[in-house]
Amino acid sequence: MTLFGLKVIANVFRFPFELDQIWSQMGEVGARSLPLVAASGLALGVVMTLHTRSTLVTFGASSMIPELQSLSFFVEIGPLVAALLVSGRVGASIGAVLANMRATEQIDAIEALSIDSFKFLVVPRVVACVLVMPLLTTFMDFCGLLGGFVSEYAMSHLSLQLYVTRAFTGVEWSNFIPPTLKTAVFGFIIGTVSSFFGYSTNEGAEGIGRAATSSVVVSSLLIILADVILVKIIFLVFPESAI
């Protein structure tokens, strides 16, 4: 899998760049995942505010709810949940599609046409995942804040302006930009792992299901493990972002 990933990186900078495929996969991975991510973000935002409110009200710190909400989503909840959602939806899709193409010898047919199947099928999907994940994470963050505002407005009739002001008061650029951009790594993991399991399967219909399952499980696991390492690296590079 490591060699597969290195091969993907090496082929990204090789001509032809397959921009049409990349654009098409961005629609498949990004635009079609947006409803799932947005809905999840809204729901998580509402739930997060309900949970934190009961605790913070006890200490008389209800004014810190927006700040806590924004920090939670920008730093960890947004990137991680978005990546896991995408890994569940897109990872399974990529793994199943490529495994099905392998099982039905479509990849062999592409190869027979003197087309680099790896460059044509795998690299655009990985690149699309890398490019789309930060955008989906941003959507996730804002939907979470919107859900938090709706919940807070229903409870205390807090104005949107004051909510936004409080939400961004304690947030630094280092709390938003590095965690958002780290999802590009998550996208690379999703695309690479899913493509690996789908592209390398040699079985039939049973292999398709196994590839899809393995893609979701392994990519999710690797995302969580990579998150630990990336957070550590972010704290190392941006020590002021450590909360």
Binding site: W23, S24, M26, G27, G30, A31, L34, F59, G60, A61, F74, P134, L135, L136, T138, F139, D141, F142, V164, T165, F168, T169, G170, V171, E172, W173, N175, F176, I177, T180, E240
Partner: protein
Amino acid sequence: MWNRNITIGIFVVAGTALFTLAIFLIGNQHTAFARHIELYTEFANVDGLAKGSKVSVAGFDSGEVTDIAVPNSPSSRFRLKLRIEQRVRGLVRTDSMVTIATEGVVGDKFLLIHQGSATAPEAAPSSTLPSTEPIDMADLLEKSTGLLNSASGTMKTVADKLNGTLDAVTTTVDNANDLVVGLKQGKGTIGMLLRDETTATNVRQAVVNAKQATTSLNHASGQADALVSDLQSRGLGQRADQTMSNVQSAARNLDATSQQLHQTLTTALGPDEQGVDAAGNIQESLSNLNQATGNMAEDTEALKHEFFFRGFFKHRGYYSLATLDPTTYRTDKLFTNTGNPRAGSRRRNSSSERRMEAKFYLRRERHRSIERSPSLAMRRSKALW
């Protein structure tokens, strides 16, 4: 195909726009797009303050800590670099005090810049503001512990004293209880007063006597009122007023008389037409009288040598002032004769004697001066001739 491309384009543009918006909102909250000035301050203890901590000017979020320089020695202090908005610069003066504060009970640390005085100039960029060290919680707890120990000792002392006081109160209450019991049993003076019938009868009799005395006093008061009314009917008050008026009139007359007398004396003792006052005139008159007396003595002396009177004097005998000495003057019978009124008065009155002796010396000196003066000697020789 076009619908898919549009959807993807909207997704990419919207995602990028949201990412940019988040960056802008965060930067706006940290005033990253506003004009700033940099200031410095120093602390021995930064109390958990970190790079990026918020800086508040008079409670208004205005910047952040951009750098913390660690000191090289314990004698040095942490040097904090602050970046605050240009628009609050008017509030930051050279005497603005910087302190480390906490947001709420569990909030983050931040730097609080107090407003300076209006008379102080604005803090220049890159200048160092004065600071107040934060309160060390460990020291505070240590002092609180000492205070609590002291309070505990004080409370113990107070409790001991309260116990003693309560014992004394208990004893007092017991004594009062005994007293009340004795009163109820008719013991002691008060008890006898309350319980003994004979004493009660005596008290009643005393009350009756007091009533009678009050009646008598009331009668005497009525008589005194009648006496006062009688005095008032006789007009004693009007007479007293008349007398006082007469006295006042007499005093006014006396005052007028005194003023007239004073005016008369002032006129009499005042200066005459030549501007000489009465004392000067009297002195001059006395001087003239003295001179006339001297001239009279000269004339008398001249009579002794005149042709018509010389025989008389020779027959009677006389002294010449030029040769007469005081001892002879005092002892000679001519002057000590009691039949001579002048000599008799000399003996009776020592002051008159002294005046006579003075006149004697005066005349003799004047006579001698005449003897020495050529003009007077000539007059005398002419007279003698």
